[in-house]
Symmetry: C2
Subunit: 264 residues, 2 copies
């Protein structure tokens, strides 16, 4: 049975298969992804030419779920000057001296640009909740605040697309093992990854809540099957193309009569 | 005769051919560029893994010289999360309320990242000089200030590579015409481009001065023949690879004994 990508009603994460691939082969998916990525680059040019909308691609997922890889692949043909990528790491002391949405608002891309959020303010209802970093009433109030923030963005011409990269616990183990076995990947290995892994079920629950409470028609969540990297990229690229095509953008009319311009 | 790329002594711009191609064909250059770009992506991973150096790719050149295109091509295989691109546009009122290097220092990439400067603080001795936006003693003092700023960056593990994309006046005319004739490029056409074009010779003189006064062993200028886009990209990619290889980076050693790690 076809598995939905966009979340439009209350979901249970356990009903979503991380290795889902819509019956596609790797070759087939890769070929389609390349076409979609070229289309994204064309649409980005139109977005840039018009500069009255922005697109935010927000990527969340457990360690090793492929947030970096997906961002790289999907925007492969887009010039870097049109993309503002922000990795939301452990907050700095300056960031902690502000409300948790302060750094997110600062990172919003200018009109005409794509923004990639590698992690995001959702960490403030994910790791912060699981590791008990603030009292429960504080993080509980955030879902509503996040919805309001995303409404503000949407009302001001930001297209907010949120992607949960859904991998299985087994696939994470395999990817972590690769970091230990491959000397060129050793540097990526962090002991804290194992610590987070111990809380796998709590994280899944926190993700489920975040997705259910914050998937809105103006800023929908998408559950991306991510055990197969090639299906992950294909699925995200498709969502991005659809969202941009809905804008029905046209090349802007020149401000002056170009037929009268003489270049000496 | 081979035309130098890196500026190591006083130059005259008029001695540099914008259509130079080192005897290469388009196919040959493109094939080499792809190899170089893959190598850049590998080296970026090492830079990121070690995170004790950064690379700044500073691109300057007349309108249509291909600053965007070059940045896109050369970093084609590098994940966007490892690149911080800054376009230095006409300064905002907030930027004008500070010294001219303030926004540049803010834009310096974090260690482990690449930074792309699409235009830069050199505009403060280029357009600012040609269009007479500040008194002569003010812009004259800036060359020395820029050298000091770049020395600071270099002393603090920033590799600063500066590229002047050198196109001919004829090639610019052809590219501007394309913007008028191709409806998908109309939006790129600005009347101000023609205004700047009128000052072509003054700009060449300003570039020549900036290159001569600010090409140092710690932050060299490179004159990139840019009439052929494929030679432009090949030349830049080669300089980037050379600079990164000189660091002789190795994969960092893991902080803990990975042989003892068990993944459950």
């Amino acid at each position: 049975m076809a598995q939905p990508i966009k979340v439009t009603s209350k979901i249970r994460l356990s009903n979503f298969k991380p290795d889902y691939r819509a019956g596609m082969s790797k070759e087939e998916a890769r070929e389609q992804t390349t076409k979609l990525c070229f289309r994204i680059a064309e649409l980005q040019q139109l977005l840039y030419a018009n500069s009255n909308h922005s697109l935010i691609i927000l990527l969340q997922g457990m360690d090793t779920s492929g947030k970096d890889g997906a961002g790289k692949r999907v925007l492969e043909f887009v010039p870097p000057s049109g993309v503002e990528t922000t990795s939301f790491k452990v907050p700095s002391s300056e960031e902690l001296a502000h409300d948790y949405l302060w750094r997110a608002h600062k990172a919003v891309p200018r009109y005409g640009h794509f923004g990639v959020f590698n992690r995001s303010y959702y960490e403030d209802v994910l790791v912060v909740r699981v590791m008990d970093l603030v009292p429960k009433p504080v993080w509980k109030a955030r879902y509503e605040q996040i919805n309001s923030f995303e409404k503000l963005l949407s009302d001001n011409n930001y297209i907010v697309l949120k992607f949960f990269l859904h991998i299985s616990k087994e696939e994470q183990a395999a990817r972590l093992r690769a970091r230990i076995e491959d000397p060129t990947k050793n540097w990526k290995f962090e002991e804290s990854d194992l610590e987070m892994r111990k809380h796998w079920d709590d994280f899944q629950e926190a993700y489920e809540d975040a997705i259910n409470k914050c998937s809105t028609n103006y800023a929908p969540w998408h559950i991306i099957p991510a055990d197969h990297k090639w299906f992950r990229d294909y699925a995200i690229a498709g969502v991005v193309v659809d969202a941009l095509q809905k804008l029905k953008m046209k090349w802007p009319k020149p401000k002056i009569d170009l037929s009268k311009v003489k270049i000496k």
